[in-house]
Symmetry: C2
């Protein structure tokens, strides 16, 4: 006899792997045959407060459908940017949510997301404990930034890293064709944590060293040193490629692109944040008067499902399955994590940790994994990153473009 009903939601920014975790949850709920309903909240907790949800077991009733979901980027259930207020500040919101849970006889609640989503899981599980509700609240991490604590790495990061490394290699090819002094600056996402920018180093192979220089937000950025670094590289090669995190800060801890010295204004005098890469482009041009261009990898680094990492997609699916198993074992208020058991061969296991001890903390690159000159990464960091981008996901193409799961329920 089926006794369980659950909610699943997605929150925060998209990744190429967050649907793989959703697929893992559906797959596990389907296979263990204890669930009557697996409800998907549309646009996260915010949508749930407006009673927006769909039945996922009905929607995903074949292995093929689940497989298509697994390899589709972005978020099938949509997202929200919603910071759940504390119970003390807003008891009504909690009462409203638990009213829906009770009406639908919910036993388990799965929330896939980043820091804010884990904060939501922490608050709901604490509240459930207070009112002696038996509902289990489980967090499944995802973020391309890899900045969640308690886990070896986050689902979604490996695919973004593979996109960044592959794009960096292709940019190196594009930059190789002319015999002239040139600087190419590639701006990569990551406001406070430089993991994704560091992953650009995975583009290096036996004959291409791009990126020649890597700048991360974990250490202060000095424009003077930056220009000196370029001058040094120019001594032995003509085309220089630089990877830079959007979030680099000067010695005063101020974001470079909000530094008044460099800020740009439009014709109306309004300040324009056109990005760190564009800013460095101007600085380099002024100094070297050579060909300079900046490339912003932009949202494609988080949604390019066609070049996702197989390791990432498979692990994201597994952690979704493991979330259901963990909940069925009676746990609540936990976030699923990966432990790395071995690096060569690469072996990880799924595990969980108390979500209240993880939420709202930030994992950044240890300074000892950044080189002494603060313009590259160490071998240790390279070896940490390497397994996460291995393997290619099989994507079908239809009419010349990737075939992904239908998302018309979000765009109508």
């Amino acid at each position: 006899m089926k006794k369980r009903n659950c909610f699943v939601g997605q929150s925060g920014g998209p990744t190429a792997a967050i649907n793989a975790s959703l697929a893992g949850i559906i797959h596990e709920c389907y296979n263990n045959r204890q669930f009557n309903h697996v409800y998907g909240m549309i646009n996260g907790v915010k949508g749930l407060l407006e009673n927006k949800y769909i039945d996922l077991l009905e929607n995903f009733n074949t292995e093929d459908r689940i497989e298509l979901l697994k390899t589709s980027p972005a978020m099938y259930l949509g997202s929200c940017r919603f910071k759940l207020p504390s119970y003390q500040d807003d008891p009504q919101t909690y009462q409203q949510l638990f009213k829906v849970f009770n009406e639908l006889e919910i036993t388990d609640f799965y929330y896939i997301g980043g820091n804010d989503s884990m904060d939501t899981v922490a608050k709901l599980s604490t509240y459930a404990n207070t009112i002696h509700s038996p509902i289990r609240f489980i967090g499944i991490p995802k973020t391309i930034d890899n900045d969640l604590m308690g886990t070896d790495h986050t689902p979604g990061f490996g695919s973004a890293a593979k996109y960044v490394a592959s794009s960096m290699l292709e940019i190196a090819y594009d930059s190789s064709i002319y015999k002239l002094n040139a600087v190419t600056i590639v701006e990569i996402m990551g406001r406070n944590a430089g993991w994704l920018t560091a992953a650009s180093a995975l583009a290096r192979n036996e004959y291409s060293h791009a990126p020649d220089l890597i700048y991360l937000p974990e250490v202060p950025f000095s424009t003077k040193k930056f220009l000196n670094d370029i001058r040094e590289v120019f001594k032995h090669k003509s085309s220089i490629i630089i990877a830079v995190s959007e979030g680099i800060k000067n010695e005063d801890g101020q974001y470079l692109d909000s530094d008044s010295k460099y800020v740009k204004k439009d014709a109306f005098g309004h300040i324009l944040h056109s990005g760190t890469g564009k800013l460095l482009e101007t600085i380099v041009y002024k100094e070297f008067k050579c060909k300079v261009r900046s490339i912003e990898l932009n949202v494609l680094q988080r949604c390019a499902g066609h070049i996702s990492s197989l390791a990432d997609i498979d692990e994201s699916f597994e952690i979704g399955k493991y979330a259901v198993k963990t909940s069925m074992n009676g746990e609540t208020g936990v976030m699923m994590v990966f432990n790395r058991l071995s690096n060569d061969p690469y072996v990880i296991e799924c595990d969980y940790q108390d979500v209240t001890r993880i939420a709202n903390l930030e994992s950044r690159i240890p300074v000892e994994w950044i080189n002494k000159d603060h313009n590259d990464i160490t071998k240790e960091l390279y070896e940490y990153l390497y397994p996460l981008i291995q393997g290619e996901t099989k994507i079908n193409y239809k009419d010349g473009i990737p075939e992904y799961i239908d998302i018309s329920h979000l765009t109508k």
Copy 2:
């Protein structure tokens, strides 16, 4: 007895398919067993003037090596931006080139490139004719812009179009997740011709209509109409995606990003050309005060070998082979072209045309293939574009990134 020696060169900007044409030439020269040497000039005619060339038959002596070259982006031989002066202005350059040709007993000269490269082929063949040289000069077109006359389409365009369409689809996924009014502007290459921007329409499928609006340089751009178009789309959907060519011009024929009304300045008062997308971002934000972002696809649209079009790679290889056959048949001063014999099923044939009748002309989208409102393409243009992005090239991955041909001879 082998009697022939040839030069091959590449020139202009990179594409994902220009090495496929080089591979086709090498393959054909190798197989017909009439060539002693196939020399590759490094950095085009400019490198040749400095005696920089390599032996390609030595370098590519297995089918596997040729296959790897075929699927590698950018330009194995490097490029140059070099406008060959006229013979009247600079006879010395011509004498110097033909001295090398005579020393190496060159019989055939293949130059793969865009408009400027075809101009070089035209000038060299005319000069050869004047001095009664028997050397044959053959042009092989390539450009992601698809703006060469005399050919149904250009090698390299299909792969760029596939990248643009696939990225547009993935951007549509990324943009679907929030329930709020938002405008995403995707800036696509093409200063005068809108073919590549038009190819973004290939992203549409049965459930996703992105891009909602398309703006091309072939018709004048009106900011007022643009804002009205957005207002109309907002009536039935919240997240709008716009494809815009970098080269759109206002009613006075002025590039939008050089219009003084909108130009941006840095802290030193210098004008910054930060691009059409960024400019429209500011304009849309001022009007609608909603979430707006612009995405520049940048160089990745021309060098993303990992998602090249199989149709394009195969055709580019064939046109390279056909160039050798054409030259062996005694032709000179011609550019290879494609004729489309049928659209459904898609059938093309290789052919050639007098290069002097083609060089320095520009092929742009016929206005009747742009809709009446000037914000979309017609069915005819869609059907013209569709076959060019079909099929996926098999790329090997090594260490998690695409495996391409070694280009260290260019970057040292």
